[in-house]
Symmetry: C2
Subunit: 306 residues, 2 copies
């Protein structure tokens, strides 16, 4: 099997002055993940590496650069899933760690559980030797500005929901194993303790070697209502291509619950899709040593990976 | 539409001396929920009432009677879902409240979110005026005994996993709306902050007026791996009856990830099923003023509701 990786940096509205940073961030992440796949690494390692790269990049709403909750804090959710055995690990409402996706993988590999939350996740991180960092290290000036702006009495509560949320990656390795990973700071000015789709298996991501893998982004509560990731794979089980399955599921989410979002998909035969019902979604993919990426509908840049 | 309610009190092993209490608890819960439906109440109110009844009953692993985590504390998960609009509310890892299912409903109705966890859920409960109770009030002598027994060096870590987990209810009201509710104390001696299927939409429950509603019980991590509740409704969308869909999904969970469990299902035409791959599951249903209930495979007691 030829390896493939697809990543997204969030569906929503990307401001003009941040477009180049988003393009650069997703292509870097896709290339890092692809490099692992080319060396014979696993899909699981590739998606973890790609998501870690975007968690560390302040352009994205995950890890450093996460949006802030109502109290001005960063609280993050993340999930990783192995399509071979449906094993998965996730964390919700975690603070003061640099890479929630790495902690999610430790949950998968070092516990009998699949999701650890808040205080318990903190205890687990400590037991695993994951360093605690000051919460401020995850907060960018921009996140703080948007947070305080949303507290103003005349702010439009719907407006901030358009901020791109979530980063994610899906991959298939040369052994035909698929995996997905998703990580997010959630919704700007969310209630303390709000958990979104990204910690919730089937909503924020799903991976199954029998079908493929997907990672989702957009309005978390809408994606949870339709269990978006699992829905996409159902459609593929019924014979749809990744793009058809993605469009069908996104359209259903829009008509049934009024929610917008975006998804990346890879099938177990290596077909892929990056689709969104929002105005923009930053995405990138590498397949056959060819990098493709874009932000707007119809925008596809192609270049060779040497 | 004639109203129907189905409830479960957990799939797993029910000790002989607790069988009568389990039968009594599920029939009481089903009758309470049915009474609401007969008076023209909503499916949502009926499932909340039935689950509240079992949370208050120390025979079940939810609310009072919950099993204890590794630190000897009660941490609970719950979810409620409205099939009309796919709205849902859930809480995870909550402590010191009597009825997590009621808090889950408040999340659904009073916030723009779907899942609040741990510390944030506590703040929300306080803001909603939900009384905090001493954690000890939720702990029974039996829960404490089993917890300390599992800490002994020669305890069998697999043994306690057979304890029945989770209570749940599904219903259809006379307007044809379906709903589900699920509540649990989780796994005995679980890690602090472990969240199971019961807080996770699509795994612990799902309700959609276009298809039906289901609530699940059993080994939480296995149910999450296959997104069990959504899988059952997916099979029904493909034309299976509730019983066929339940058996197909439970069999898939057993063969694919080695997990056992049980489910209750009601279709949007009022057909129902209570199926399990464990040795036992306490369940009860009321339809056409007829109460049915049982614990073992093939055990069905029938009586008229006057």
């Amino acid at each position: 099997m030829k390896p493939v990786i697809v990543v997204h940096g969030g569906a929503g509205r990307i401001f003009k002055d941040r477009e180049e940073g988003a393009r650069s961030g997703v292509t870097t992440a896709a290339l890092k993940g692809y490099s692992i796949l080319k060396q014979g690494g696993s899909a699981l390692d590739a998606v973890e590496e790609a998501v870690t790269s975007m968690e560390d990049d302040p352009h994205f709403n995950a890890g450093c650069g996460s949006v802030l909750n109502e109290k001005g804090e960063v609280e993050m959710d993340a999930i990783i899933m192995d399509g071979k055995n449906l094993a998965s690990g996730a964390v919700s409402a975690v603070k003061c760690i640099a890479n929630p996706i790495k902690l999610a993988r430790l949950v998968m590999e070092k516990t009998e559980h699949m999701l650890l939350t808040d205080h318990g996740a903190k205890l687990f991180a400590k037991a695993m030797g994951v360093p605690e960092i000051p919460g401020e290290k995850l907060i960018t000036e921009r996140s703080r500005e948007r947070w305080s702006k949303n507290l103003e009495p005349d702010s439009n509560p719907q407006e901030f929901k358009k901020d791109p949320g979530t980063v994610g990656a899906v991959a298939i390795d040369n052994e035909g194993n698929v995996a997905c990973a998703t990580s997010t700071g959630g919704l700007t000015n969310k209630l303390v303790g709000r958990v979104g789709d990204s910690a919730c298996i089937g909503s924020g991501g799903y991976a199954d070697n029998h079908v493929g893998a997907t990672s989702t982004t957009g309005h978390g509560e809408s994606m949870m209502k339709v269990v978006l990731a699992r829905l996409i794979l159902y459609h593929m089980e019924q014979g749809m291509s990744p793009a058809e399955a993605a469009d069908t599921a996104l359209n259903y989410m829009k008509t049934r619950v009024g929610g917008l979002g975006g998804v990346i998909v890879v099938s177990n035969s290596g077909d892929w899709a990056a689709r969104f019902s929002t105005k923009q979604m930053s995405w990138a993919t590498v397949k056959d040593d060819q990098l493709q990426y874009g932000i707007y509908t119809g925008e596809i840049h192609t270049s060779s990976v040497c």
